[in-house]
Amino acid sequence: MEANPDGTGRPPACDLCGRPGVYLDRIQNRHLCSDHFVGDVEGRVNHTIQKYVMVQPGDRLAVALSGGKDSTVLLHLLRRLLPDADLAAVTVDEGIDGYRDATLRSAGATTRGLGIEHQTLSFLDLYGKTLDEILKGQPDRACSICGILRRKALNTIARRAGASKLVTGHNLDDEAQSVLMNWLRGDRERVLRRPEENGGHGFIPRVKPLREIPEKEVALYGILKGLFVELPECPYMHSALRGEVRGILTTLERGHPGTMRRVVEGQVRLSRQLSSIPRASRPLRACERCGDPTTARLCQACRLFDPEGGPGTLVSPER
């Protein structure tokens, strides 16, 4: 269906009100104007929050705010959709020179503008080193090391903020990528994990209100609401697999609209139907170094810094 084939150049009209469209929803094959697009996104995020019972009475929500577009949009949406919710923003400063300063400033401006309390925890405070220092000599492992350390840092700061839930800005594209990556790696535990189990053993439960909103729609919402800020890219090489999987998925989405949604929805159904399959449930114990819950002697983060070395530690880089 080609719009205005007369070549007038006007944007196709909103299917709901006739005003100029800003977005073509290729799944429902309809155009939406700015107001109807914004309302549509808000309605769907609200629906996701209800459907997965992401917020319950008495919850205190720690919103992981990196300062980037997804988490900035998330915080605005939560304030708007849940005006009475107990919200706190939490930011992890990994210590990445030339990158984090701009995003930290953006995060600070966002929380001041919304009047939401804001706490920051740095790798330097938590681990005694910045990510730049930690990664010296092994920048190729940046994403996996940063991921482990950030997960612990977010959990720590959410706990310090007294939160009952940790809310993250993962969008539909992120979720579809993760589903595919779990299959490509043959990661049985993650394939079987239901969305409700997202916090992982002993960690503050994590919820993702944007998990059904495509990345393009999150970005467009941010632009239309005047929240979009141009920020520097993280200087470290991103996981090669995730980048390739992203390209594959956006190519498929182009040719077959709705692919990412079907991947994620299919995974949710599958994981629920397979919930009776026994997992490798090793008993939980306290990490000998930091006390966080873990199934091994040391938690993943502390294992990275284990002076006795061993596979995967920072002391003996091997991968």
Partner: protein, 64 residues
């Protein structure tokens, strides 16, 4: 028509009236990954562009 990319460079597209999508695909850009605007207003990807139009491309890729 002229297409301003996010890195500050610009490209031109010759070839008569075409939709935003067609122009993007001719530049090797997947429309799923970008948002296009004209005269400061976001436009749907199936908007027809005229020969004098200038569009601006914003990549929506992950910022963390």
């Amino acid at each position: 028509m002229k297409i301003h990319l996010q890195d500050g460079t610009a490209r031109t597209f010759e070839g008569g009236p075409a939709t935003v999508s067609r122009v993007l695909l001719s530049l090797g850009v997947n429309p799923v990954e970008v948002i296009a605007s004209r005269d400061g207003k976001v436009i749907p990807e199936d908007t027809f562009l005229g020969p004098d139009d200038e569009i601006r491309i914003i990549r929506v890729s992950h910022g963390g």
